[in-house]
């Protein structure tokens, strides 16, 4: 089974669930439903709630993360005074689940973060540099902002597969870069001089990338 951790209001999440075999959405509501069992030891008894149903962790082959956190506003059945606290507790719980599940997680928890929080530039720019991938400098200023327009292009990486219209050396660099970071999925954006601007896992995967992701998540760690 593939579990997409996301929101019912996220069309990317719901489209992926519809397109992948044996996929289901684990929503914010599921985290405030009875039935979760997640011990530190005894992994065989770990149990999810996915789309209101209990699912053994051993049945889950792949997890696709489509959210950076759970927001208080999503917890409609929780008392308004408790929502911020419960959302924070769910975030901490989700981190624990993603770090300890036996399933393949896309992308894995790193340094106590998941989703876009785990893809901060200070993490990936060093790796890019080590691999000889040029990085476009980023200027941040409190002064008046001048917008600079420039052309960009994207390269999608899923495991060892790379999708995108780019020179072969860029595609190969992208694959090595993601492997070095331990990332399974992401879109790398480059400028016209092939300098890396950013890495994100928040975008909508292309059809080809979504199909590759589905295969990978269904296969699990095998």
């Amino acid at each position: 089974m593939i579990v997409v951790v996301g929101s019912r209001h996220d069309s990317v999440a719901t489209d992926l669930v519809a397109s992948w075999p044996e996929a289901a959405l684990c929503s914010a509501e599921d985290f405030v439903s009875p039935g979760w069992v997640w011990p530190l030891s005894q992994p065989e008894s770990r149990t999810w709630i996915v789309n209101t149903k209990q699912v053994r962790d051993a049945q889950v082959t792949g997890i696709f993360i489509r959210r950076p956190t759970v927001y208080p506003e999503e917890l409609a059945t929780t008392h308004p005074d408790d929502r911020a606290f419960v959302a924070s507790e769910i975030h901490a719980f989700l981190m624990f689940v993603l770090a300890t599940t036996s399933a393949r997680v896309v992308n894995p928890v790193c340094d106590g973060a998941f989703g876009e929080e785990a893809l901060r530039p200070e993490r990936w720019s060093t790796v890019a540099s080590e691999l000889g991938i040029p990085v476009r400098p980023l200027r941040v200023s409190s002064g008046p902002r001048r917008r600079t327009r420039y052309r960009t292009y994207g390269v999608e990486v899923i495991g060892a597969e790379v999708f995108g219209d780019a020179p072969s050396r860029v595609l190969e660099s992208a694959r090595r870069f993601m492997a070095a970071l331990g990332l399974t999925w992401g879109t790398l954006r480059f400028d016209a001089r092939h300098r890396l601007i950013t890495v994100t896992g928040a975008g909508r995967p292309s059809d080809a990338a979504a199909a590759a992701l589905g295969r990978l998540l269904k296969a699990g760690h095998s």
Partner: protein, 291 residues
């Protein structure tokens, strides 16, 4: 120059500032209240960041910061939030001594996640269950007879205990994830690690959470504690493995003499322990920042 980010009303920040002053360090203090007016122009690239920040009319090149101590407050918005993000990015990118790098401190935002890391570092940890299932929670209570429950996240909560006579309360776990841990008997020992040094303090208290002994009508007696060298070294290794330079580690020595580790705090409030033990923790941090 040492960058200190945090409120002077926050005692760890005040103590570090004091120790840096005594040491004669050139300090650049960004108070929480100054964040909204912080000016900056910084270029982040694959090499070290370059540019400047300006607070209170004083402009400094960021590559002058050889040490950074940060204890940011919470919930800032607007310009202050932007400035906080920039300072966090600097703390994550500059090749300075940083206490502590933001990424390293994040393990504490999920206590059960962190306890897995502690276990991997070779420490005994309490049996832990996170659940929304009353049946599983009851079984866990019966297994251990007495449990501790506390928040999963970094939000501070009062640690409380639960025994079999209160089993009915576990029906409430159905409303959201609750962390339950086996109660471990023994002596509380708080150890502050500053790079390779350790400062141990024992706490004798009848309270489930000694930090709140007063409000519960009990007391907490703090004393300097002679930590076995082997445990100290193991803690230094674990803290280094978490990429932290400074940490406050909560342990309990069981009546049988084994050590159980509960939590590693990456931004410890150490002055309370300093006051009673005479430990020079702020001075050790200042020395580290200036090294």
């Amino acid at each position: 120059m040492i960058l200190v980010w945090g409120s002077q009303n926050d005692t760890p920040v005040a103590r570090v500032l004091e120790a840096l002053e005594v040491r004669g360090c050139d300090i650049y203090h960004v108070a929480e209240s100054a964040l909204a007016n912080l000016q900056y122009d910084i270029v982040f690239s694959a090499s070290a960041p370059s540019g400047w920040i300006e607070s209170g009319g004083r402009r400094v090149a960021v590559n002058q910061f050889r040490g950074i101590y940060l204890r940011p407050g919470e919930h800032v918005a607007g310009n202050a939030q932007n400035a906080a993000m920039v300072l966090l990015a600097l703390a994550g990118s500059l090749r300075s001594v940083v206490v502590n790098r933001p990424a390293a401190g994040r393990s504490n935002t999920s206590k059960p996640y962190q306890i897995g890391l502690i276990e991997r570092a070779g420490f005994q940890v309490p049996d832990t269950l996170v659940t929304t299932d009353p049946t599983a929670a009851r079984a866990f209570l019966r297994k251990h007879s007495r449990l501790v429950y506390k928040s999963l996240s970094g939000i501070r909560s009062i640690v409380a205990t639960l025994d079999v006579s209160e089993e009915g309360r576990l029906d409430n776990v159905r409303n959201g994830p609750v962390q339950l841990q086996a109660y471990v008997r023994g002596l509380d020992v708080r150890v502050h690690i500053v790079k390779d040094q350790w400062f141990a303090c024992s706490v004798e208290s009848a309270a489930a959470d000694y930090r709140y002994a007063g409000p519960t009508g009990t007391t907490a007696e703090l004393s300097a504690f002679d930590l076995p060298e082997k445990v100290g070294r193991q803690l230094v290794k674990m803290v280094r493995g978490l990429n932290l330079l400074v940490a406050g580690v909560d342990l309990r020595r069981t009546p049988e003499g084994s050590w159980v580790c509960f939590e590693v705090n990456p931004s410890p409030g150490f002055p309370w322990y300093e006051e009673t033990t005479g430990h020079q923790i702020a001075e050790a941090i200042a020395n580290l920042l200036a090294s």
